[in-house]
Structures are given as C-alpha cells and as structure tokens.
C-alpha cells in the first residue's frame, strides 16, 4: 500500500484537524484491515474475527515500530478502532444477506448454525445502530465504546489516549453501557 512515512504524516495532519488527511487514514486502515480480516476468515469454517490482533498487525504493518511515538500510536488505534467497526459491520451485513436470501435448503440442513449465527449478526447490527444514536447525544461515550470493544484497548490505554483519569473512563464506560442497554431494550420492545 503506502509506506509507513505516509501514514504517519497523514496521522499528524489528521490530528491537526485536517479532514482530508483523516479520510485518507481511515480509508487506508479500512482497506488494510478488511483484507487482513478476509485472509483470516478464509482459513476456517468458523469466522473468528480477532479484532485486537488485526489492529495490532495493521499498526505494525502500516506504521512500523521504529519511529512511532506513544501519541501517534494512540491516535492510530483510535482511528483503527473506528475502521475496524466498519469492517466488521460491513462483513456482518454481507453475511446476513447471504443467509437470508440464500438457499432455503441449506438453512434446513444446518438449522442450528443458521439460527445462532444469524442472531449474532443481527445483534451486532443492532449494537451498531445504538452506537450511532449514542454518538449523536454523547460522542465521547461512543468513542470509549469503540476503542474498548472494537479496538481492544484497555481502560488505562484509553485514559492515556484521551488524557483523562482511568476512573472517568470507567464512568464513561458504565454510562455508555446504560445507554446502549436501554436503547437495545427499546428496540426489542418495538
């Protein structure tokens, strides 16, 4: 793809507020993560998507360990988490489409698999929607979720990234869960 220097450069620019640079970074990340994910998935029947590992791999690949500063790394992961979320959601959407529209015969042959997996996929999409809603009212909370759930960062790492106390991250995490749970409950009731 592009070499490490470019990415770091774009990261810097994005951090500085350059929208175009941000788009580029995200696009690059998305591409990279997407193909890595595909490779991982092609291997077995079970779709184990190891997001954390992928993000780490992507980081190593795109940025390289040599000239990374901690600040860069944190930002990278923040963007990577967002990109990861897109990768996963898109992938799940596609899978659902296959299952739903596809051969009915196949469904009846392996009913258990379809049932559980579909539920998993639909749940993920619902979470995605709820996250969007959360981002609309409280973007900071939504980002904590992205970082932790899709990016695999720990609370300590997030605290460092956002320059806040671990405790306040914890609180954000709790509130975010409340919002999401309530939101998902409302979905179900509807």
């Amino acid at each position: 793809m592009n070499d490490s220097a470019d990415i770091t450069h774009w990261l810097d620019a994005a951090r500085g507020g350059d929208r175009e640079a941000l788009d580029r970074v995200l696009a690059a990340l998305y591409d990279e993560l997407h193909s890595m994910a595909r490779r991982q998935l092609a291997g077995q029947q079970e779709q184990t998507l190891d997001a954390t590992a992928l993000v780490h791999e992507a980081y190593l690949k795109l940025v390289g360990s040599a000239n990374a500063q901690f600040g860069d790394r944190a930002h990278f992961f923040a963007y990577a988490a967002t990109a990861m979320r897109s990768v996963v959601v898109d992938h799940v959407r596609q899978r659902l489409a296959v299952k739903r529209g596809g051969d009915l015969e196949r469904v009846t042959d392996l009913p258990e698999e379809a049932e559980g997996a579909i539920r998993l996929d639909e749940d993920l999409l619902a979470l995605d929607r709820a996250l969007d809603r959360l981002a609309a009212v409280d973007p900071r909370l939504a980002q904590v979720v992205e970082l932790r759930y899709f990016g695999g960062l720990s609370e300590l790492e997030i605290a460092a990234l956002q320059d806040r106390s671990e405790r306040s991250i914890r609180r954000d995490w709790q509130k975010a869960r409340m919002f999401l749970l309530a939101s998902l409950d409302d979905d179900q009731a509807a």
């Binding site: 184990t48 954390t52 049932e115 999401l180």
Partner: protein, 947 residues
C-alpha cells in the same frame, strides 16, 4: 432512549456513579423526594448496567482463536467435527495424557448477548447428566476453560448412521429389529428420566465399528420437568430435521414422549423398506411439511411392492415381493401405528412399541391394530379394567385440559407432558396386564410392585420423577382397593416431595388430592383436612391453568369436609369444582362433572332435603347413561347414595331394591373381592337387618365374610367387624353355636390387636348371646371381666362402660341379684351423656330400666314402659323396643280378672311380631317367652316365675 431523556439523566448518573453504594441509595432517596419518576429511572439505569456484566465485557472476538492443538480445560483440540448454533464441536483428547479416551468437546460460542445460549448450554448439561445408558453417548465432563469458554465433554462416538449401516451390510431383518430395540431401550431410559429427545434421526443414531448402537445429540432435547427457556425460533429456521419430525413439531405444538415415538417410526420405516414414508413429487420443504401433516404414509409392504414394479430384473422383483410379504400384517400395522398423526393414537410409549416388536419376533399376536384406542381396553383382564381405566381417564383428562392459557406457555406444556408421560406408562402397564388370564388380580399387583422397583432403580437420582411414579402407582392401587398399600406409597411420595423445591403445581395438587382421598377411605378425615388445607391457596391460584387438577383437589377436600361435618365449606368447594369442570371440553370432563353433581346431591341429602337430593341423583344417573352407558363404576356410587337416602327416610325396602341392583353392577365391574363390592354387600345386609330379615341378611354377610377371609385370612383385623355382624345375625336367628363362635373370633382378634374398644364390644356381644341362651352366670363373669378391663382404659364414665352396665343390669335382674335397678340407672345416665338421648343404645337401656322399675312396682317405670310402647303406633318401622315394652306391660296384668284379656292381647302381639320378623329374632323370642310365662301362670301347677 432519546437525546432529551439522556441529557436529563446524564449529570445525575455522573454524580451517582461517584458515590459508594450506601451513599448512592441515600442520594436516590433524596432525589425521589423531589421527583419520584426521575429517581425511578435513575435506579433502573443503574440496575440495568450492574445486572449485565457480560454486555460488551470482552472486546469483539475471542482473544485467541481456537485451532487444532488449542487447549480447552484439560483437553486438547484435535479436529473440528461440526458447527452448531450454540458453538463448535471438536474431537479432543486429554492434554495431560491421563486417559487415552477421545471426547467430543462441545463449546459455547461467545457473543454479544449470550444469556439464552448460556441457559441452553446449561440445560443441555443438565439433561445429559441425567442419562447414563450403554446406548447413549454419555456426558463425561463439563467445565470452564481458562478464557471462560464453557465446554461439555461427551463420549466420542465414531460410527455411521444406523440406516446406512443396515444398507451397507445388508443386515437381515431380525438383526435390524434387535438393534432398533436397543435404540428403543435408550430412548425409554431418557423418557423415564423425563427427557424427550425431539430430534431422533439416523445421523443421531450411530453404529460403531463393533456394531454397538449409540444415541447422540440431546441438544434440543426437552426436559419434562425442568425450566425450559422460551425457544424463539426466528426467521423460519427450525431446530429439528424435517423428515423425521412429528406433525406436532411442525405445527409448533407441545412436544411429548409420543413425538419421539413418531420419529422412531420413521426410522423403523427405513429399517423395513430403505425408504421414507412419504412419496413426493418434488423434494421441497413445503411438500414435506404438507405430507407429514396431512398425507397418509404408504404401507411399508405396499411401498416395496411398488418398488418391485420398477425393477427390470426378475430376481430383484421377486426379492422385493418376498420382502413385502414379510412385512404384511404385523409389521405394517406396527409402523403405521407409530406414524399416526394424532399422538394419542400412537404407541403410548417407546417401550410399548419395543414390546410389540418383540411379540412379533416371538411369533405372538401384536397389539397394533389400526383402530381406536378403546379397542385396547377389551383385551384386558376384566376385573381390573375399571381400576385402570379410571386412572387412565383421570390422567388423560388432566393431560388434555390445561385450561384457558396460551397453549404454548411453558407451564401448560410441562403439565401436559407430565401427564402424558405418566399416562403412557400406565397404558403400557395395562397392555402387559392384558395377557394374564381372567380373575388373577394378584398378577397386576405383582406388576405394580415390579414397576415400583424398576422406578426405584432407574430414577434413583430423579426424585421428582419418582414422586410422579409413586403417585400413579398409588392411584392404581386405590383403584384396586388396596388403600393401605396406596397410603404407604403416598407416604414415600410425601417424603420425596418434602425435599424438593419448586415442584410443578400439578404434581403438588395431585399428590395432595390422592393423599386426602386415601386418608378419608381409611377413616382419617381430620388427617385429610390437615393435609389438604395448606394447599388450598395454590389451588385457587392455578384455577386458570389446571382446572381439572384443581377441581379434583377441591372435590376431595370437599368430601373430607363433608364427612367432618363442615357442610357449608364443602358446598362451596363442590360448586367451584363443578364450575371448573363444566368449562373444560375434553372427554372424561363430563364424567367428572357428574361426580361433582353427585357430591352436591349428597350434601342436599345431608341437609335433609331428600326430594331435591333424589332429583339430583336421578339427573346424574341419566347423564351418566348418556355419557358412558349403563356400565360405569359411578353408577355404583350413585346407587349407594340413593340407598342411603332411602334408609334415612325410613324406606328400607326401596333401599334394598337399589342395593341389589347396585351389588350386581359392582360385582360385574369390580369383582367380588373389591372393597366397593364388599361395602355394598354390607350395606345390603344392614338394610335387611333393619327389616328384621335376618336370614336374608346372613347371605350377603357370609359372602362378604368369605371374600374378606380369602383375601386376608380369617383372623385378620379387617375381619373383626364382619365377625361381629355375623355374630349378631346368627344370634337373631338363634343359631347359638355359630353366634358364639363368631363372637369368640371377634374377641380373639381384638385381644390380639390390643384394641380395648373392640374387645369390649365383642365381649358385650358374646355376653348378650349367653344371656339369651339362659347362661346368665357365664354372662355375668364375662361382663365383669370386660368392665374391669375397660374401666382401666377409659374410666368409669365412658359410655361403653354404660353399655356393659346395661347388659349387667339385665343379667343381674335375671339372676335375681339386687342392685340391678341402680346399675341400670347409672347406665342410662352415662349413655345419655355419652351417646345422646335419642341413640338406640340409650333407648334400649331405658327400656330395660323401665322394665325393672315396673317389675318392682314403680309407677314411674310403668309410665315409661307405656310411653315406649306407644311409639310403635307412630311409624312403619319395626319397633322391637316398643313391642317388648308392650309385652312387659301386658305381662304385668297377667293375673286375676285381667289375665284372659292380657293373654289374648299378648298372643295377638306375638302374632304381629312374628309377621314383622318372619325369620324369628331375639325380640320375637323374648315376646314368645313372655307369652309363655303368661300362659303358664294360668296353670296353678306351673311355677310362677318372676317377671
């Protein structure tokens, strides 16, 4: 959750999350003071978050992918065997090399909102843990891996689907059937543990390399007594395989043990023909569904015949035709029965199916008939028929009528399945009993004992299932009249249930109702009320769900209350039971309704509203005729109640007629030995005695005695009362040796049992006989002995002492001992206080007292005698006491100028008494004696005796 709401809540949440728990609660209270709604919402949010630890707890995927070589718990994964909705199944072996054994490791897939999957997983574990059978792939281990992945380690079975095995090796028919029966054994074991497989198919029935059959994958099996979480199937995905599914599964209805019967039927069909039961034009799901729901399966033999038509090769054709002929008849019928659309028309249990196959293999007639279930009843031992049919009917009704709730509710399904499972067991038992020759009641009891022993063995770890079984067998015992044995079983059931939490309501109510009934039949109505009353609130709550079980509970409790005298409460319960039973639309509910009407009619009789009661009885009998025909055990109940009413109204003749008819019916339906028949006999005897037809009464008494003797032995406690009644009747008939013998037997039984009350009663009888025979000295000794012994037990004021005193008084008077009057006065006093003024025993003592007083010249005594004598004119009933009083009065005028007239009147009195007591009797004899004395008084050369 919208933006505005969140804006309101967010700052508060910030603050609350900062606080430790007690401070948080205080703060919430403070907020509640201002705005309760806000506080409630905040509390709800906090609870939401704290209650869902698992939500988003882990980053999006398993931190480490599972691969060959990965370790899960003590196991190392070797190869992925398959994928399920719940997770993966791997072949694995122990990582520490401890055992060489291979396992199938079932892993729970992690996910976002996993609770229901976790529950399912836990349930599967619970199901598997119950089942230990050589033909079921067993659960070896279960646990949690280091990453927190739950796993189940199952016996690893390498084999091929049974149908393929048969085909590949061209296994001959008898061997196939033998293997099939092994499968049936395994399924029966599961059913006995109240587990239904729900997904039986060849790929779940494997045959290993050494020809062993193994049942797999109870993954979607249903527990009949566990908490079954709602299985919401989404987007049309099914949890079972279509081709082997039963109609009720496709319709989404409650699944029972009969569902497994159907699935096995399809496998059996393949066993016989190599094909599936339905021929379709297009192999689509929709067509299959329709076929299973609505088309008749093709007869196996016919299927093969059709195949033979398609073969070009003549030898092949002949081969197929030969096989088709082999299947015609029994095997055809057996298979078709298992594939009936309506579950209740199939074999009631897998065991029954297996046994029919065995019968076929043994060359015996099979039970499969392509006809109605009632046909089965005709095969049975005649006398046990009703005992078992009644139980069956009760269970069927309980099973079918689960009331006005959404029928897929968990509780409804559970209750239906409970009853189904037990019903299947009963009918299975029944079919076995059908082979024994007529009249061998003991065989069925042995069968029940055997079933109980089997239940103890197989269900040792399933106290709930054992409790169910105990209930069913107790019910059957009661149907046979073995009330004591039934009570023992119910005591065991009680003990088992006491140790269990959260039992199904239906089981609790059934158990209580049975227990109450048996206690009442054994004479312990207070015990019945004590047992049942605590459950009355539960019954009330379950009215909507379990109308029949609640109605039965209420009826039984009502009957005990009626026996105890609380008529108002009994009435309320009977009315409620009637209302419930009227609502239910199921066979057998209408019979239950008639029972309720009978209960109410009996209450009317108790309340003295004889006319209304008789109307009620008549109506009940008419409806019973319509619903069940003239031969139904309930007719016996109706007959007995009507007869009791007639007796109470003073029409012993009518009562007699009814009782004779009832006795015939009871004899035919229950047999001579059954307690109900014996009770009817006793009641008939009682009615005859009332009419002083002692000779006639002796007949049913003796027959009853013989039946009891044959059953228990002549000196069994159950025979005490029979001996006593016989003694009384023989005495009336002046057959003194027989009377004495019976009385002595009664005394012996009572003495051996240490029963003071009974002993006193028996000795009293004996003494009376002696007195009548003129052996007053012997009588006196006996009475003194009896008195002394009894006083030591109950004190001198007890009415039974007074009865003895009465007899002593008469004996003393006969012997000319002084103090007879005083003794009789004492007797009357304590009889009045003990039994009441109107009691016949008090009356008899009063007569004796009046007689003695008059004999001593007491005018009061004479007046009393006259009063007693006057009663005879008022009713049609025989009045032995009045006749005697009249005789005594006349005897006192048997001298001088009045003598001739007195003699004439005495003679007329005697003649009237003879007409009233054609068989003779103690009274008649007494009056004859008085008459004789009067006659002799005429002759100066005859000694005048004292009166």
């Amino acid at each position: 959750m919208d933006a505005a709401r969140w804006q309101r809540l967010s700052p508060h949440l910030d603050a609350l999350l900062e606080l430790p728990a007690p401070a948080r609660t205080r703060r919430l209270d403070e907020i509640a003071g201002d705005d309760a709604e806000l506080a409630a919402e905040l509390a709800r949010m906090l609870a939401l978050e704290s209650g869902r630890d698992d939500f988003l707890a882990q980053p999006l995927v398993v931190p480490r992918a599972l691969r060959e070589g990965s370790e899960v718990g003590p196991y190392r994964l070797e190869a992925l065997l398959g994928e399920g909705g719940m997770g993966q199944v791997w072949r694995a072996s122990r990582a520490d090399g401890l055992y060489q054994r291979r396992v199938a490791l079932k892993l729970l897939r992690p996910g976002l909102a996993d609770r229901s999957l976790r529950l399912r997983f836990a349930r599967e574990r619970e199901i598997l843990a119950r089942l230990a059978h050589p033909h079921i792939a067993g659960l070896l281990d279960a646990g949690l891996s280091a990453e927190g992945v739950p796993y189940l380690a199952l016996e690893y079975v390498e084999g091929e689907p049974i149908t393929r095995y048969w085909q590949r090796l061209d296994v001959p028919l008898p061997a196939r059937l033998r293997m099939f029966r092994q499968v049936c054994e395994a399924v029966t074991h599961a059913h006995a543990n109240l587990v239904v497989h729900c997904d039986l198919k060849p790929s779940n029935i494997l045959v290993t390399a050494d020809g062993q059959v193994r049942l797999l994958d109870f993954g979607i099996a249903k527990l009949l007594d566990g908490a079954t979480p709602r299985d919401a199937t989404r987007t049309g995905a099914r949890a079972f395989t279509l081709h082997y599914a039963a109609p009720e599964q496709i319709r989404g209805g409650p699944v029972t043990t009969m569902t497994d019967v159907y699935s096995l039927g399809v496998v059996l069909y393949e066993l016989l023909t190599g094909l599936k039961p339905y021929r379709l034009k297009r192999q689509s799901d929709a067509e299959w569904e329709e076929a299973i729901l609505a088309h008749d399966p093709v007869r196996p033999s016919q299927m093969l015949m059709r195949q033979s038509e398609l073969k070009a090769d003549r030898l092949e054709r002949q081969g197929l035709r030969r096989r088709a002929r082999r299947l015609q008849g029994d095997l055809d019928n057996i298979v078709l029965r298992t594939l009936c659309k309506a579950p209740e028309q199939r074999y009631p249990s897998v065991e029954a199916l297996s046994q029919d196959l065995q019968r076929h293999l043994d060359g015996q007639p099979v039970h499969a008939r392509p006809l109605s279930p009632l046909y089965r009843l005709q095969k049975y031992v005649r006398r046990q028929r009703w005992a078992i049919a009644a139980t069956l009917a009760a269970l069927t009704v309980l099973g079918l009528a689960v009331g006005a709730v959404v029928w897929q509710s968990r509780e409804a399904v559970e209750e239906a399945q409970r009853a189904q499972a037990m019903r299947g067991f009963v009918v299975g038992l029944f079919e076995q009993a059908g082979d024994t020759p007529d009249g061998r009641a003991l065989d069925l009891r042995a069968l029940l004992d055997g079933a109980m022993a089997r239940g103890d063995r197989e269900l040792a770890r399933q106290p709930r299932a054992q409790a169910e079984l105990l209930g069913v067998i107790a019910r059957l015992r009661m149907g046979l009249g073995d009330d004591r044995e039934a009570k023992a079983l119910l005591d065991r059931q009680s003990a088992l249930m006491a140790g269990q939490a959260s039992l199904p309501a239906g089981l609790q109510l059934d158990a209580a109702a049975l227990r109450g009934e048996v206690l009442r039949r054994l004479g312990d109505t207070p015990g019945c009320i004590r047992t049942m009353s605590p459950l009355a609130p539960l019954a009330s709550r379950e009215r909507g769900h379990l109308p029949m079980a609640v109605a039965e509970f209420q009826s039984q409790l009502g009957r005990c209350l009626r026996a105890d005298g609380d008529l108002a409460y009994a009435r309320r319960l009977f009315e409620q039971a009637l209302a419930l039973r009227r609502e239910v639309r199921a066979p057998g509910a209408s019979i239950a309704e008639i029972e309720s009407r009978l209960d109410l009619a009996a209450l009317l009789a108790d309340a003295g509203q004889a006319g209304a009661a008789l109307d009620g009885y008549r109506a009940a009998r008419a409806r019973l005729d319509v619903e069940a025909g003239p031969r139904h055990p309930l007719h016996v109940d109706i007959g007995r109640q009507v007869a009791a009413l007639h007796r109470r109204l003073g029409h012993p003749g009518r009562a007699e007629q009814v009782l004779i008819d009832t006795l015939v019916a009871a004899q035919e339906m229950h047999g001579a030995q059954h307690p109900v028949t014996l009770d009817v006999r006793r009641e008939l005897a009682g009615v005859l005695i009332e009419q002083s037809r002692f000779r006639d009464a002796a007949v049913p008494l003796r027959r009853r005695h013989a039946a009891l003797s044959a059953r228990h032995g002549p000196m069994h406690p159950a025979l005490f009362e029979s001996h006593l009644s016989l003694a009384h009747v023989e005495w009336q008939l002046a057959r003194m040796p027989a009377a004495t013998g019976a009385a002595q037997a009664a005394v012996a039984i009572a003495r051996r049992d240490g029963d003071g009350s009974r002993m006193a009663a028996a000795m009293l009888m004996h003494a009376r006989i002696l007195h009548d025979a003129g052996r007053d000295i012997d009588a006196r000794v006996m009475l003194h002995d009896a008195r002394a012994a009894r006083v030591a037990q109950v004190g001198a004021a007890h009415p039974q002492i007074a009865e003895i005193d009465h007899a002593l008084g008469e004996v003393d008077a006969a012997l000319g001992h002084p103090g007879a009057v005083a003794r009789l006065q004492r007797a009357v006093h304590f009889l009045e206080t003990g039994y009441g003024r109107r009691d016949p025993r008090t009356d008899a003592a009063r007569l004796a007292l009046a007689h003695q007083q008059a004999a001593h010249g007491d005018a009061g005594g004479r007046r009393a005698l006259a009063a007693i004598a006057a009663r005879a004119g008022r009713t049609f009933e025989p009045q032995p006491l009045s006749w005697r009083a009249a005789a005594y009065l006349l005897a006192m005028r048997c001298h001088g100028g009045e003598r001739a007239r007195s003699l004439r009147r005495l003679a007329r009195l005697h003649a009237a008494v003879q007409r009233a007591q054609p068989d003779g009797g103690a009274t008649e004899r007494e009056i004859a004696r008085v008459l004789d004395q009067c006659r002799r008084a005429h002759d100066p050369f005859m000694p005048t005796g004292t009166l």
